[in-house]
Symmetry: C2
Subunit: 301 residues, 2 copies
Amino acid sequence: MYHIGVDLGGTNIAAGIVDSTGKILAKKSVLFVMRHNHEELAEDIVNLCKDLVVETSISLEIISSIGIGVPGVVSPKNGMVMLAGNLGVEDMPISHLVGQVLKIPVFIENDANCAALAEATFGAASGSRNSITITLGTGVGGGIIIDGKIYSGAFFGAGEMHQVIRGGGVLCQCGRQGCWEAYASAGGLVRELRQLGVTDKTTAKDIFDAAHSGDILAQQAVDAYTENLCIGLGNLVNILQPEICVIGGGISGQGQGFIDSIKNRMPRMVLGVNRDTKYAIAALGNDAGIIGAAMLGISSE
Amino acid sequence: MYHIGVDLGGTNIAAGIVDSTGKILAKKSVLFVMRHNHEELAEDIVNLCKDLVVETSISLEIISSIGIGVPGVVSPKNGMVMLAGNLGVEDMPISHLVGQVLKIPVFIENDANCAALAEATFGAASGSRNSITITLGTGVGGGIIIDGKIYSGAFFGAGEMHQVIRGGGVLCQCGRQGCWEAYASAGGLVRELRQLGVTDKTTAKDIFDAAHSGDILAQQAVDAYTENLCIGLGNLVNILQPEICVIGGGISGQGQGFIDSIKNRMPRMVLGVNRDTKYAIAALGNDAGIIGAAMLGISSE
């Protein structure tokens, strides 16, 4: 049997047919369109799934589940999206709306939790029981895996990595001053360089590239960025002591040099007892969302 | 059947006979004496247990387990104390040494984890599946309960609440600047008042008492202390989203006014999705350590 994983994003809706070993057999995506009602959004997802099976000649009958990763707060138990601000969605019975058309069981989860589950099972954290996957991009996302399963907390909202690391510091979009996201997101790196008087580099990639080319100020900004990133990682490791922390998202594309500079800093950031935790770059890239969503059905079997 | 819980501390060793409902039938304590070898420390524990059963006329034969809470890093699986700095103990096979004399199964855990387990089962967090218990005293301790069980991380060291909340700030004994313990411990409160120029109050209790009596500077210090306490609590709640946070330790003796000032601050400290987490003062006081240690055997039945 196969599973469809849907990665619902504010820019694209991507879907893939995934087998039980986490391999994507086919994938397809469409632009996300802000919809006036829940039925229209559900229809977009349904049509994407139908197109995917038609194009791959895989019969819907051998698809045993659909999983949807949602950038927001969901209730997996009720199949409800409680709040997904970037999608303009609130209180949407997404599993019901998609499932009633396709006649296939639908599972939902937060998208960062899906990525963490995929990395923990088939990616950089495979073989571990307890892991954290952090996604560094426009924001800082995260998912916690405990005993091989997504830890979603008491009300399905755990793993929000909004933690204050510099009380009284830079204001985060979450409303708190000194929050990790304001430092460890791409915008945090751009701000570090701006504070050094450089305003012509406006993306994280530009700044990393300049640092690699020997630009001293860009190197200083990357250093300050990485230090703050590691302070927050250290907090997570001291609290949760995972076997491994996986770093994903656009910024993780900086590769081995970046992960090495994290590894060098971490012994100083954590208690002695927590120095056995490992650090690795995410292995599944953008596919983690689709694979993790598809796994929601696999792991419920 | 009954269970003995031992709360091994750097000042006292306390032990109690506990029934399966968490009730302490009898308790006894002796001074902790720094010992040269593991056998002597084990003997102190064995003698305390023996005295306890003799004095209460409860036969050792109806004691089905002994649990020991240790202020340090332990390996529950191997019955080893890996490191307990305050006791001067390293790599001690404590379960074996105590068990071979008393011929009763011995279980061990970190003491803060024991207290968290006790509060989660019979105390302020009873009825919850996921909770955090924070102990505010000379240091800041903590235990995480997930699905009714102690979460001990990958290498038995989870729940160390050393998290940086003010990067570059006050140096903590853990070696990191701006660590929560340096602000939320009793010493953190004393320092807040000292920074306001007041040096004649050297305990947290004195400062809380003065604040209650209308001393403006003491009130300012308590305010700054509580704000920092809540920043760290907010981080924990955003990451773990427990149903309830229990506040224990000496400072929690400040009672309802203190917990009310925490509750008032917390909505501002956490994301909207995490505002359903509750806050409560620990219910079991100093007995939590004994009860939680005794439960190690109960929960293994």
